[in-house]
Amino acid sequence: MRKHRPTIRDHSAEANLFARRAFVGFVFVTLLIGVLLSNLYNIQVIDHQDYQTRSNDNRIKVIPIAPNRGLIYDRNGVLLAENKPVYNLEVIPEDVDDLDKALTAVQQIIDISEQQKADFLDDIKHNRRFKSQVLKSRLNETEVAKFSVNQHKFPGFSIEARLARYYPYGDTLTHALGYVAKLNKKELTKLEAEDQATNYRATHDIGKLGIEKYYEELLHGMVGSQRVEVNNRGRVIRTLSLTPPEPGHDLVLTLDIGLQQIAQHALKDMRGAVVVLDAKDGGVLALYSNPSYDPNLFVHGISSKDYKELLNPDRPLINRTTQGRYAPASTVKPHMAILALEEGLVTEQTQIWDPGFFQIPNVEHKWRDWRRWGHGHVDVYKAIEESCDTYFYDVAYRLGITKISDFMTQFGFGELSGIDIHEETTAIMPSKEWKEARFRESWWRGDTISVGIGQGYWTATPMQIANATNILVNRGLDHPPHLVQVAKKENEVTQINNEEKPPVVLKNPHHWQIALDAMHNTVHKVTGTAHKAFKGATYDPAGKTGTAQVVSIAQGERYDAKSLKERQRDNAIYIGFAPYNDPQIVVSVVVENTGGGSTVGAPIARQLMDYYFSANPIQTAQSDAP
């Protein structure tokens, strides 16, 4: 710095100094603008493509659209499962100024429980604030109206409609139709593994049981999509393109809702199952398991209280028609008779003496007949008509378990019937191998005796019993039972379930006739076990009763229903078909712990047949029966 500063300011020197500095400043400014520009050039020209893509990713969203689930109809076109709009009160938290205040105000208008409020607050904590959350689901009409009037007071709140499954017949069809409910994580993982996750992007519910589950793929349809432009809050500004969803197939069942209602009505409050098959093609006309429950409870998530109530000892959740294991009892006697005839152990004329019990030679143990004093001289007809046990003890003893097991397996015992619902058990057709595997014990000759009358280790589901009867009345032709007839989509109709299994072939086809005649007599002869129940029927029925022991009765003791606990009393069973000369329907009825195949089982079958033939009168009136 200068030591001697002039006292008079050198204005031109100062001006020059300033001009130099201003010039430096301007150069500096120009340089920095150059820096800005080169950076902007990089962003706008060099990296333009990248940013262009990200800009499009920002604004264009693909919104999946759920397909409408296919409807389900009964064989006469009655709607059994439909899609109804439900209204949910939803909230976008971001758009609400004061959530607490707004919630309190909404509670003045619509009843919202503290639980619902807590669930909602929990939901918004775990989701982005612009995502809509359900505050209350399934508003009724009054609530929708009440809220709509006040809508303007609640920005961010809205009523959203979507389609949800509804089952108009409630508990009448639960075990056949099953139900849909909210897709869960496990199902989602499975869908991902099957490469189906995209198809379910917009779907809320999935089939959980019954037909809804079995035919999920057909019923669901294909997801659609909508390319939309959205703003930063995800609100749709406009639609750019639309691929409409493809609705699922409608299903037409073989079920007859009228018959189904009769079955429910006939069983009243008894635990049991009814299966009615179309003898011509194996179509299931009725499939009812009692007690039942309302499937609509599950569609929107069942409350834990309601669910607990379903876990009662009557086990309504079990589908007794396909999961109930019952001793088939005397209903297998016609089959057993055919086997004995085929094997030449008996002929049409062979008679045995029934003293009221059967004994293996040199063995003390007595296998008792249901009639303590016996049936006297018994041939194959009488054995079936009067359901003589001793005759079949003897036959079974002589056949041996392997022949019985092999033959009965051809009628579907011990195997899945192939019915188109997943809830099914094979039950047990005992054999030597089975006992080895199950109990690590060899088969005793004595084990075979009770198998002869459908007891012992032998269990079957009502569906298996009906199916075995159906094969019998069709003289060996096997039409596997099924619930769905056709799938429809617009005008395209697809036949499903028309496959046949290989028939059961007899060496002498006349043996079919013997068994069927005996079943005819069971209903028509005064001594027949089902005679009383079918008195005065306008069609020509045939059948076979059965009464199955639930617990074994000790030697020398009598069965006394009153002294036994309710759950230990006998099961009533009945199989029947009609008309005798040209069977149209096959019925199997099982009622738990009521005893009396002829007093409880047969009258239920009568009601079903009466209804069926009044609704479907026999065209060509011809009957061999008197």
Binding site: M1, R5, P6, R9, E14, A15, L17, F18, A19, R21, A22, F23, G25, F26, V29, T30, L32, I33, V35, L36, L37, N39, L40, Y41, I43, Q44, V45, D47, H48, D50, Y51, Q52, R54, S55, N56, N58, R59, E229, V230, N231, N232, R233, I237
Partner: protein, 368 residues
């Protein structure tokens, strides 16, 4: 130099500099168009914006009528009142968005830091200009103190953007006054060394966070990096020609934050592309060039220093704002001058241009 015999033009009599005025008016028209787009075509907002512009132009016109000598006489009271109000803000101020920047005067709210944007360069220019140029060390130290006291007060509000603007306006005066290059080098080195303790003790967490996300915006794409990422997407997707007026998806669909205020440059870049950006920068360069030209031709040291400092500070607005939205600088709240929506900064800027015009036309009066 203007010939003495030439008749004074109408613009000189009105104390207006025509080239600068035309450039400013052009910027305001552009501002209206861009704010209209950025606000989502909100006409009510347009009316408010136009009204404020009118007020700002009026303020400029009034200030232009004061001669630099009159301005000089107002320097000390203005600076002292401003300083008092800054203290008042810290003690009794009204908070908004986490910062205490406003004084509630009953009728209206007032931001004293805006006053200081004018008062500080005036005060320093007056103080340095009283003495010979280049200034002596003692004058430099006092001049520096005049700058730093309000700067620190404003940084405490906290308002980093404004404190940077005020500090630079004062420092520009010192630079233009002929501060020796050796001292400039020394101060630069000191600042570089001071940056480390400042980073640790002088900044608020949110400011530090902004700097960190500025360095790597993608590290927090939904949090604090969101603004920068969305802004760069808007700028980059604009390309060379832009998407067209009102057609910018980033801004129209509200992905861009603070669209009509701090991030309005991104809207402009998206809709008008690199072409529009160049045009805007040319306009700024012209305004700055004109301001410096006026400063060089100013009659006395006060006028030169003040006009020069105000002009260069105007550039700081431009650089910090564009640097911020394009990812060169951290996010600090500085509007794009003359374009961003918002009355306060518009009024302050136009007041500055009023003073520049007063200086521009004063020379001619003295020469008469």
């Amino acid at each position: 130099m203007i010939p003495l015999n030439k008749k004074r033009s109408i613009w000189q009599r009105l104390h207006l500099d025509l080239p600068l005025l035309i450039a400013l008016m052009a910027m305001m028209v552009a501002s209206l168009a861009i704010v209209y787009s950025a606000s989502g075509q909100d006409s009510a907002m347009m009316v408010r914006h136009a009204t404020r512009m009118f007020g700002a132009v009026l303020g400029m016109f009034i200030l232009a009528q004061f001669s630099p000598n009159t301005l000089k006489s107002m320097v000390i009271p203005l600076y002292c009142v401003g300083l008092l109000m800054l203290v008042g803000v810290l003690l009794f101020g009204v908070s908004s968005k986490g910062a205490q920047r406003w004084l509630d005067l009953g009728v209206t709210r007032f931001q004293p830091s805006e006053l200081m944007k004018i008062a500080v360069p005036m005060m320093v220019a007056w103080y340095i200009g009283r003495n010979h140029l280049p200034p002596r060390v003692i004058h430099l130290i006092i001049g520096f103190a005049i700058v730093m006291v309000p700067t620190v007060l404003i940084k405490e509000q906290p308002d980093l953007g404004t404190s940077i603007l005020i500090a630079s306006s004062g420092i520009f005066v010192l630079f233009l006054s002929g501060l020796s290059w050796r001292l400039i080098g020394f101060f630069s080195a000191t600042i570089a060394l001071a940056a480390w303790p400042f980073w640790h003790y002088g900044m608020h967490d949110y400011q530090r966070q902004r700097v960190l996300t500025f360095l790597d915006p993608e590290s927090d794409p939904l949090g604090s990096g969101y603004h920068i990422i969305q802004s760069k997407i808007a700028i980059g997707s604009g390309g060379i020609e832009g998407k067209g007026w009102l057609q910018g998806t980033q801004s129209q669909l509200e992905f861009l934050p603070e669209r009509h205020t701090d991030f309005i440059f991104s809207v402009l870049s998206e809709e008008f592309g690199l072409f529009g950006v160049c045009l805007l920068l040319c306009m700024y360069l012209f305004i700055i060039g004109r301001g410096l030209y006026i400063a060089v031709n100013a009659q006395d040291a006060f006028g030169k220093l003040l006009a020069g400092a105000l002009t260069l500070t105007f550039f700081v607005y431009v650089f910090v704002n564009i640097g911020m939205v394009s990812g060169l600088l951290p996010v600090v709240g500085v509007p794009l001058p003359l374009i961003s929506y918002g009355g306060t900064s518009m009024v302050t800027l136009m007041a500055g241009f009023g003073i520049i015009m007063s200086i521009a036309t004063d020379k001619r009066m003295l020469l008469k």
